[in-house]
């Protein structure tokens, strides 16, 4: 059978197995660098800002935000969807690429999964604090209660959200954790610190690396992966249904579920790119995260970007073809033109146009440009959610109630807070967990190294 290697070399430097272990775990044993302290201080301050903003929200009321009677959802929901989208990367990465037997995922999936877990935590925060009466948030769970036959409204997409996101969070976290067990055991065996030995010993669940263990491990990973794969699709489909099942022009479209899932993967991959370029640079993982990894991600992004462009065009086409006057207004007069033109065209430029530069190999090879483009994708995807949430609500059916929306410092503060949580989470991950799945990289070493 003819076989052509599409990918380049995935592990460089003619590594031995021991060398890989040493390389990957090196940052864990090294003295904590100064930048790490600086970074975590900054991110902690960001968390503090977020905590103050949340305190203000909970103690005074949602009125401290910029939302109003007409645009009742604002930054909170935009950021919620944005974070959920980013939270798609890890699982999508690991699972889809695992199922598709893409070997190149191995150096990246660990970090991507970590990112997922932290991003979903950030996302989950928003629907909570967004509630008017957070102290009654438990109403949203279908628990047996003393109020007679009073259940949740199983028709409500918000209820589906609760189920989908909590399931997704648990599945992602478990998947991530199970993947780390062999590596925790490696650290446990190598470390000299007694505390670390105990901690990693506990976390590794008594892993001894025998063949039976590996067999179980592989099966569990595959099973969980199989379970989580539909979840990846389901979660963002359901998030999209918050919008798609409503009657608002610009929300009420059947394209939303696939469009949101693809968009989520797009933003997730974008964030992976951003993060991995930093990791590679800072921890000198050039041998493990190679040009060809970025090349693979860039190619995927190009493809997804084309899907996004198709989705945007389809929306516009259907708005015109469907002949609904309200939808037509929302798309043509409130997005393509009108008050929110800036946001719309930022979205189009960042998501549909800029990634097309990845067609050029030169650009794919230039890590600096790739990094900048990944940032653009993150911005573009944020604006996509902004366009969806704000433009539809601010100018809907009755012109009498049209109103503009601008966030207040409280909303911005909460967003800063979640950025802080995300960065803090990632920093802790850098410091205490092997960033690359050691065992998995070893598995592909024979085939794809030089």
């Amino acid at each position: 059978m003819y076989k052509k290697e599409v990918r380049g070399i995935l592990v460089q430097g003619n590594k031995s197995y021991g060398q890989i272990t040493r390389d990957v775990t090196a940052p864990l044993y090294a003295q904590t660098p100064l930048w790490w302290y600086i970074a975590i201080s900054i991110s902690s301050i960001a968390i503090l800002v977020g905590a103050l903003a949340i305190y203000k929200t909970v103690s005074t009321g949602i009125g401290t935000w910029g939302v109003n009677n007409n645009v009742a959802w604002g930054w909170a929901i935009i950021n919620f969807v944005w974070w959920v989208g980013i939270g798609h990367a890890g699982t999508a990465f690991s699972i889809f690429l695992l199922i598709l037997r893409q070997k190149w995922r191995t150096s990246i999936n660990r970090a991507a999964e970590a990112m997922t877990v932290v991003a979903v935590i950030c996302a989950g925060l928003f629907p909570m604090i967004h509630m008017g009466r957070i102290w009654n948030a438990f109403f949203i769970f279908p628990y047996w209660n003393t109020r007679g036959p009073l259940w949740d409204n199983f028709n409500s997409p918000l209820f589906w959200d609760v189920v989908a996101i909590s399931t997704y969070f648990m599945a992602s976290a478990v998947f991530w954790f199970i993947g780390m067990i062999p590596d925790f055991a490696t650290i446990r065996d190598n470390t000299t610190s007694k505390i670390k030995k105990r901690v990693y010993g506990f976390l590794s669940f008594g892993w001894i690396g025998n063949a039976r263990g590996w067999l179980r491990f592989e099966t569990a990973s595959l099973l969980l992966g199989g379970l989580a794969a539909p979840l990846v699709v389901a979660v963002h489909s359901i998030v999209s249904m918050d919008f798609a099942t409503s009657v608002m022009p610009g929300w009420h479209t059947t394209i939303f579920p696939p469009y949101f899932v693809v968009g989520a993967i797009f933003s997730g991959f974008g964030m992976v790119l951003t993060l991995m370029i930093i990791v590679r640079k800072v921890f000198k993982f050039q041998d493990y995260i190679t040009q060809s990894h970025f090349d693979a991600i860039a190619r995927i992004l190009t493809f997804i970007s084309l899907i996004m462009a198709t989705a945007y065009t389809t929306e516009l086409f259907i708005a015109w073809y469907g002949g609904g006057e309200y939808e037509m207004f929302t798309f043509m007069k409130n997005r393509v033109t009108g008050e929110y033109t800036m946001a719309f065209w930022t979205m189009i430029t960042c998501n549909a146009i800029i990634p097309q530069l990845f067609w050029f190999k030169k650009i794919r090879k230039n890590i600096t440009i790739v990094f900048i483009m990944s940032i653009f994708i993150n911005i573009g995807m944020w604006f996509e959610r902004y366009v969806i949430v704000v433009t539809s609500l601010s100018k809907d059916f009755l012109p009498s109630s049209w109103a503009a929306y601008a966030p207040t410092y409280v909303e911005i503060g909460i967003f800063v807070g979640t950025l802080g949580i995300f960065i803090t989470g990632v920093l802790l991950f850098f410091r205490y967990v092997p960033m690359i799945a050691i065992s998995e990289v070893k598995g592909i070493l024979k085939k794809t190294s030089n």
Partner: protein, 982 residues
């Protein structure tokens, strides 16, 4: 079943199938244990222990609870008061400007709501926003709580002795005693003032109106020999022409006029004609917005236009014409049309200008309207202010001739154009007394304040029109240490009588004789108090001969570099006496949807010229700055500013809002005019001022929200303008079964031909449903809480747009988008078709608000009650007395909205059940519907084919808002029809 045995004895027993006999428990002899203890029963000690524990536990648990609120039961159960059941008392609203016959709803002895009195032939059960809001004035914490001397508290005894002795002293000196009052329509009070004059012979009674109608009376004096304001009857007219007369909003008797006007334009029961209305006005008013044809004219061109109209009519009738300059607007067609409706038309002018009013009277006389649409016999007793006497009084005050001045229901320090001169004059008056109910600009410069009762605490009568009497009775004991002004006057003339007795005596002596129905006075009195109204059978003077008066025009000042300033009253705030009423401050202006401010209205053309946008700032006369609001329909070279703002001593709510523009009233020939000032305008670059508007987009964007047609087309096809309804009905298909109801399916219909947008329903709903006031900043944040709002749209050209009002409340959709998105099922559908809110269940995700195409859901963004940041009526104990106990006050974080007054539905349903009968159609009236002066709202059971609402639903004019969204609303709208002539 297998048998198991434990011992051989047991085995034996089982074998012989013996019953197991329980051995008696061995008696443990524990020393010191009583019999009860052995049996495990609680002893006294145990009881005490348990008691101690329980009480202690309860105390600890209770200490975490919210503070205890005391409800003190009646010591003696008063008659007529049943807790939970409302009592209604007929009474009269009169604030010096507007008259309205009302019913006061009281619960547990406190008034909580005002309804219209159906028995009144004048207001016919309608009210205005101001009448509705007046209930809040009763519970205004800013009211005087005791009498005052030099702004310090004193007691009534001291005040009475000091005032009486000073009155006597000054009277003996021969100095003038002046009673400066607003228009008094109470015949008994007028009698009392005569009595007062007998005791203090130097007394002069002068009537002062903030907004004067003196010219109408002067003109009638000249032409009919009597200084009267005639009463107008729109129901007899087929054509009404208004010149700056905002008769639906603020002019003379708007509730009465609205009732008549809307009845003549309903087109509900197959009528084929409707009242036609043409309006010439300077700024856009709700009256102009309702007009079939509207022409913006300069206030200074009004007289020329009127006289041209006179000439055209006179010419057509072959009578003498007057020489005048060229007409500014073409009025020939109008003259022809007026003549076609001879005796069935009416020309009205709102200017306090004698020349204008003379011409108007002459026109109406030529058209034969007197005695038909215009009634001189039952002339209006409102607005009796005499500008000339007031001006003379100020002169005398400044020369030191006035010894005493008593202010009753008047506030000249605030609203006299030259108030500085008035204040200067006051300093030369020896004794200054005010009867003000709450502190105002005048009362603070008075020596004594003898605070008056609120009208809901007072006995009084009223005669809004000659021969039409109205009764005011207290519905609550005075809350503060106040005393009715009339009682004070009685006290000061040395009478021991209470005013209640005085009033009763007056009715016995005077009015009893004017009727023949009742044999005894007691019966007559009781019936009058019960009904609240009484029409005299007395023959009135009807001898009014017309005398020609010279019609001439004094050319007004013109300056091309300057702009004509036109002052107007806002529908809510009016002349400014209710400025401390937060409901009225937050009532959006029906035309420009602004709250909490006044501003400089500029026309669209002027805005273009200056580069003004709404919220820019203009410098007026190089003197003061005001925010700008671009007002379509305003005459292009005029600017307009609302009076009633810029109060400095109104109370926490009303102080320092906007600018006091009364100083820009002009006085020509002794008459106070709202127009006539010429001002220069400059744009203040780079400066803006935030205005709180509740609507910022003004067109329908071509959407068929308010459907309209013309009378001509309607007569050919009743469904004209509403073609979409049939189309959408065809297209509206669904996979799901239609919701079915048994018994009741509540529905509402709004006749857009009737609705004038006055805002009465908004305030009525606010009072009924405890809707919170949120203040200017929050309104600006677009978070107004009103459950019913009146959308206003413009169409056609911006210089003179057509205006549409559309009241929008929860549409109670049978396929409600809000219901299925709530994750916790806090907003379900009732079995009677109501979309309900379970506040306790709501967690505030606001998904329902987003998914409501009508945007009628309101979120409690903050805690609006008991919150010092929202220091309105719900933040003080007095203000909270206005709350309706049937409706819960919503807490922070929950969504609320119109319930179709479910508490009223339940009340009437229970009543019918108790009386074991069917609920009658029209028995339930929602708050917005009950007092609507235009009768624009119908409510009822859609399942009853004979109900009024079902009939409307079958009318070809009926449609649902956004019916193409397939929400299946229970609220419907009826096409607006304009009586346009092509």
């Amino acid at each position: 079943m297998k048998k198991y045995w434990q011992s051989l004895e047991d085995y034996q027993r089982i074998k012989t199938n013996q019953e197991y006999v329980e051995k008696p428990e061995p008696e443990f002899s524990i020393e010191g244990m009583s019999e009860e203890e052995k049996k495990g029963k609680a002893t006294r000690r145990d009881f005490l222990k348990m008691l101690g524990f329980t009480v202690g536990g309860a105390v600890i648990a209770a200490s975490c609870e919210t503070p205890v609120r005391k409800a003190i039961p009646f010591l003696n159960q008063p008659e007529e008061i049943t807790p939970g059941v409302a009592n209604y008392y007929a009474s009269t609203f009169y604030d010096g400007n507007d008259y309205c016959s009302i019913l006061v709803k009281t619960r547990e002895g406190r008034p909580i709501k005002i309804e219209g009195n159906d028995l009144s032939t004048i207001s016919k059960g309608g009210t205005s926003a101001r009448v509705q809001a007046s209930i809040l004035n009763l519970y205004d914490n800013a009211r005087f709580k005791t009498p005052q001397k030099d702004n310090q508290e004193i007691d009534w005894g001291t005040l009475d002795s000091e005032v009486s002795s000073q009155l006597k002293f000054i009277s003996e000196q021969g100095k003038e005693i002046v009673l400066l009052t607003g228009t008094i329509i109470s015949p008994s009070t007028r009698k009392l003032i005569e009595d007062f004059k007998l005791i203090y012979p130097g007394t002069k009674w002068i009537t002062y109106d903030a907004i004067s109608y003196h010219a109408i009376r002067l003109a009638h004096q000249k032409q009919f020999g009597a200084a009267i304001i005639p009463s107008y009857d729109f129901s007899k007219a087929k054509l009404v022409v208004g010149f700056n007369a905002d008769f639906l909003g603020t002019w003379l008797s708007p509730v009465e006029f609205t009732k008549q006007y809307s009845a003549a334009r309903k087109l509900l029961n197959g009528e084929t004609s409707m009242l036609r209305h043409i309006q010439y006005e300077t700024t856009m008013t709700i009256t102009g917005g309702m007009a079939d044809n509207r022409t913006p004219i300069k206030a200074s061109d009004e007289k020329v236009t009127l006289l041209n109209l006179y000439n055209e009519i006179a010419g057509l009738l072959g009578q003498t014409q007057f020489t005048i300059s060229k007409p500014v607007v073409e009025v020939h067609k109008l003259a022809v049309e007026l003549l076609e409706n001879k005796g069935e038309s009416m020309v009205l002018c709102g200017s306090n200008d004698e020349e204008s009013q003379l011409i108007v009277n002459a026109i109406n006389y030529l058209l034969g309207n007197y005695g038909k649409t215009i009634d001189l016999v039952h002339n209006v007793q409102l607005k009796q202010g005499n500008d000339i006497e007031v001006a003379a009084l100020i002169e005398r005050m400044n020369t030191g001739n006035v010894g005493v001045i008593i202010h009753y229901n008047t506030n000249p320090v605030y609203n006299y154009p030259n108030s500085q001169k008035y204040v200067d004059g006051l300093t030369k008056v020896d004794l200054k007394i005010s009867f003000a109910e709450s502190p105002d600009e005048t009362s603070t410069v008075c020596d004594y304040v003898a605070p008056d009762h609120n009208y809901l605490e007072s006995w009084n009568d009223a005669e809004p029109k000659l021969g039409f009497y109205s009764m005011m009775q207290p519905s609550i004991r005075n809350i503060f240490e106040t005393r009715q002004a009339q009682d004070s006057l009685l006290k000061w003339i040395g009478s021991d009588q209470s005013y209640q007795d005085y009033l009763e005596k007056y009715w016995e002596a005077d009015l009893f004789a004017k009727q023949s129905k009742f044999g005894t006075f007691k019966a007559f009195w009781n019936q009058s108090v019960h009904d609240g109204v009484f029409i005299s059978e007395e023959k009135l003077n009807s001898n009014f001969a017309y005398q020609e008066a010279e019609l001439k025009i004094t050319e007004p000042d013109k300056d091309n570099a300057k702009y004509e300033l036109f002052l107007y009253e806002k529908a809510g705030i009016g002349s400014g006496n209710f400025a401390n009423n937060p409901w009225l401050q937050e009532l959006p202006d029906p035309i420009n949807m602004s709250t909490w401010d006044n501003y400089l209205c500029v026309s669209t053309l002027l805005a273009e010229e200056f580069g003004f946008k709404t919220e820019d700032v203009a410098l007026i006369n190089g003197n003061f700055e005001m925010p700008v609001l671009v007002q379509p329909g305003l005459e292009k070279n005029s600017v307009a500013i609302a009076v009633g703002y810029g109060r400095t001593t109104a109370g926490k709510v009303g102080d320092h809002l906007g600018t006091n523009i009364y100083p820009y009233m002009t006085i020509t020939n002794g008459l106070k005019k709202l127009s006539g000032s010429l001002v220069s305008i400059e744009k203040v670059d780079g400066k803006t001022y935030p205005l709180a508007l509740t609507q910022s987009h003004h067109t329908m964007e071509g959407r068929s929200l308010v459907r309209e047609t013309t009378l001509e087309k309607y007569l050919k096809d009743p469904a004209s303008g509403n073609e979409r309804h049939a189309e959408d009905a065809k297209k509206n298909t669904t996979l799901y079964s239609k919701p079915e109801f048994t018994g009741f399916h509540w529905g509402m219909a709004i006749n857009q031909n009737s609705c004038i947008g006055c805002g009465n329903c908004v305030i009525s709903c606010q009072a009924e449903n405890n809707v919170a006031v949120i203040g200017k900043q929050e309104v600006r944040n677009r978070r107004i809480m009103h459950w019913i709002r009146i959308d206003r749209y413009y169409s056609e050209e911006a210089e003179n747009p057509e205006v549409y009002h559309q009241p929008v409340m929860c549409q109670h959709c049978d396929n409600a988008p809000c219901e299925n998105v709530c994750p916790v099922a806090a907003t379900p559908h009732s079995s009677e078709g109501l979309n309900q809110m379970a506040y306790n269940r709501c967690i505030g995700t606001r998904y329902c608000m987003n998914n409501c195409p009508y945007r009628v859901r309101r979120f409690n963004w903050f805690e609006y009650a008991n919150n010092k940041d929202f220091d309105y009526n719900m933040n003080n104990d007095v203000g909270k007395l206005v709350l309706n106990p049937d409706v819960v006050v919503r807490s922070r974080g929950v969504v609320e909205k119109c319930s179709l007054c479910v508490q009223r539905i339940q009340e009437k349903k229970l009543l019918a059940k108790r009386e074991n009968r069917q609920l009658m159609d029209g028995e339930i009236k929602t708050a917005c519907q009950a007092s609507c002066p235009a009768d624009a709202i119908t409510f009822g059971n859609l399942l009853d084919p004979n109900s009024a609402i079902s009939k409307i639903n079958e009318d070809p004019r009926n449609y649902h808002l956004l019916e193409e969204v397939h929400t299946l609303p229970s609220v419907s709208y009826m096409t607006k029809i304009r009586n346009k002539k092509s």
